[in-house]
Amino acid sequence: MGRNILVIEDEPNISEAIGFILSRDGWRVATHANGVDAADAVRSRRPDLVILDVMLPGRSGYDILKELRADAGTADLPVLMLTARGQAKDREMAATAGASRFMTKPFSNAEVLEAVRDLVRE
């Protein structure tokens, strides 16, 4: 109960790393690698938390997030956004789109774990 995480990330190495760290911590991790049907994947898997990359093939992470927030079923779902662009502008866009938390790549593994635990506890 409450231990399912969906990682939406197109770089296989990064999603593997995140998957490894989180599963060592006892989470069940699923991954999804493209932007087009990411929102559908969230709805069908009903995870407790989504880790969402901003630059995805097919569709931007912001757009996916907006769609999730507009949907009553996923409006309150905690979403951790990851981006490889570290500019303030990107952080603002994530906030307006409704991200629960925002992290810039590269991140430390401990940070990710901490953020995930915080978000689910809330």
Partner: protein
Amino acid sequence: MASLNLLIGVCLVYVAVLFAVAFAAERLAVRGNSHWLGSPLIYTLSLSIYCTAWTFYGAVGYAARSGLEYLTIYIGPSLVMVGWLWGVRKMVRIGRSQRITSIADLLSSRYGKSNLLAIFVTVLAVIGTTPYIALQLQSVTLSFAAFAATDPSVAMPDDSNLTALWVAAGLAFFTVLFGTRNLDANERHHGVVTAIALEAVVKLVALLAVGIFVVWGVGGGVAETMARIDASSLGHWEMASGRWSGLIFLSAAAFLCLPRMFQVLVVENDDESHLRTAVWAFPGYLMLMSLFVMPIAVTGLAMLPEGSNPDLFVLTVPLAEGRTGLAMLSFLGGFSSATSMVIVASIALSTMVSNHVVMPIWLRINGTGAMVSGDVRHVVMLARRLSIVGVLLLGYLYYRVSGGGTALAAIGLISFSGVAQILPALLGGLFWRGATRLGALCGLAVGFALWLWCLFLPSFGADVIVPARVLAEGPFGLAGLRPQALFGIEGIDPLVHGVLWSMLFNACTFFAVSTFTFPSPMERLQGAQFVNVFAHSNTPRGWQGGVAQSEDLMIMSQRILGAGQAQALFRNAAQQQGLPGYLPEPTAEFLQLLEREMSGSVGAATAHAMVSQIVGGASVSVEDLMAVADETAQMMEYSSQLEAKSDELIRTARQLRAANEKLTQLSVQKDAFLSQISHELRTPMTSIRAFSEILRDTDGLTVEERGRYSSIIHDEAIRLTRLLDDLLDLSVLENGQVSLNIRQGRLDEVLDRAVAAVLQGGGIALRRDRAAEAILLETDIDRLSQVFINLIANARKYCDAAQPSLTIAVRQRDRVVTVDFIDNGSGIASDAQEVIFEKFSRIGEGKAGGAGLGLAICREIMTRLYGTVAYLPGQGGAAFRVTLPARALMAAQ
């Protein structure tokens, strides 16, 4: 004794020499070694096609029948050339500045680029020239038969038609071979002209040799010969004054209007200053040609039996004296006269027929004129070749039908008076701004009709076409319409009668209709341009640029001029406007240039129609009309300067706007790039950091896991390095600090390597022409293959066709090698074509790929290798052209 076999042998050798000379001249011209080919002497000699077999054989016959009257035929042109400042100079200048291809093209261009007029003149020219060609065939056949008659070992060739057919076929072959080498009728036919110059020398030498033999060998000196002339039946001056002056006028008119004379006088003119030599040398040539005609005629009449054909005296007098060698030279002279006329006439006629009749019809049948699919050059070429064969066939058929009889002998003057009908429209067009298209058409029609009725149809003799009763009593008994006594005025010489009435009505109709009709704006512009050609020899105005799509124009002109020439033209124009790439601004200037270049290939009317189809209707502006309304040249000059200035302002503003847009675009791109580069750097770093922390902090990893995670770290580190390498490469190239590794290599091998590097797994079908690729290069092979790899990889990545294919086309021209990479995808939008070579630019978001440095690196590399790489618009898909200059090139093998 004269041996027919020897004659045939000599004749064949002579023909072989002509082919060799023409071929050598073409080769010299191709190598740019055409200095002496373009000498004024060659030009003058080429004018001598005025002297056809009708001169060589016919003049003596003419003199034997009518005394000194034959001189009129040569006095007229001599006066025209001596008075070159009046008309000939203007015609040549206009022909050169407007890239005129024929006399029909000249009239069409002058009268508002009207194709109807061109067709009319073409038909007139064909009708007027065909009998003349038949006459040439007849002369060769007759002279051949005259020779054969003296050879006892051979029976008379039973079929003289066969000789004529052989001659016609040979001439068609020669003309097609050397007359249609290049499409641009405005380019000089060096081979043909040089061969004709040689023939001119041969015929002059031959006639002079016979003359000298007759005067000093037979006659015993000048004084004796003159005495003999005075004592003969031709000894006293008997001249109908109407014929004397009428024929001088007629020959002068024909000299200006004959299609073949226009061809050598104007179209083949290499340099206007050559006229300075021709103006005295050509009358001199004509004088020498006429000099011995009278002595030969009188000697022939005295020496040969009654009833001998005086048209063959030039041949039969030496034969009768047993001078076989001299007779053979004379035969070659006549042969030269006939062949050179037929060659030039058929080139001139074929240009007219293909440009004004065949091409317009073909373009109409094949839908919209400008956007025809495929290269139409071969169509033009084919049309021209078929026209040549057709013209000669027509001449041969005429010869067959007319039976080669004496009716042909009279045809020379009939033919002259036919083409002379062009004169009023021609002179009016050159000197009178008020001449209109309708006036020219009506004048021509009236003149042509009268010529047909009074001269051409009766020339076949009574009862052949015109019944004898009509000739004597007029059609339907209307005596006022008798062909040789119009309006009941009898007693005039039939020829003078026909010329007088047809020219008079032609000119009057022309002036009257011109006065009472209104010219179209285009006619007014062209009229001003022609009449005032010396005041402003630049270009006719007309096109208003700005709305035309340069790319469409390029597609069209590639079809007409060929890809290479069109691209060079566009590139030069773009460079002159200070623009990169192949697409210049469609300024009025550029459009005129383009139109004129194309008119050299397909004629003014067709070229104009094609350009207007793309540019749109508005070809004449209010300013132009105002300028036309003003009669003074100064005002025209002034207003054209004003217009040029305002055009320049508009253009400058457009260029500034473009520069500004480009800057904005670049700045946006720079931001996007920083963001991009951040992404490209951070992504591998994320993996490296995450896995190194895992390796550091996690206990109990299996050996496999350890190995796998370390190799991920390793791969990502390499990815980072590669990105940094690219950036570094670019900055080194840009700063010019790169050291090149110049060595030799074969182009096909470089391409093989590049293809192998990119297309291991297939992904795109490849089309190559290995034969064209066998070129030895001396350049930095590795850098070059880096460029090729990039272009091929781009095609594989971005080509969006269902069945992607990539064509690699290699061409070598003027010691420059071009390598085109053309795929069948949707290409690159024209607004993006500018920026793809900028650093950091990628088309579209989210496509897999590098950091957008590939093409920027390619461009830098090619600059270092003294070549270029550019986007080639209008090829159907995305197309890139790599150009390697001469210094990176070595002759293969």
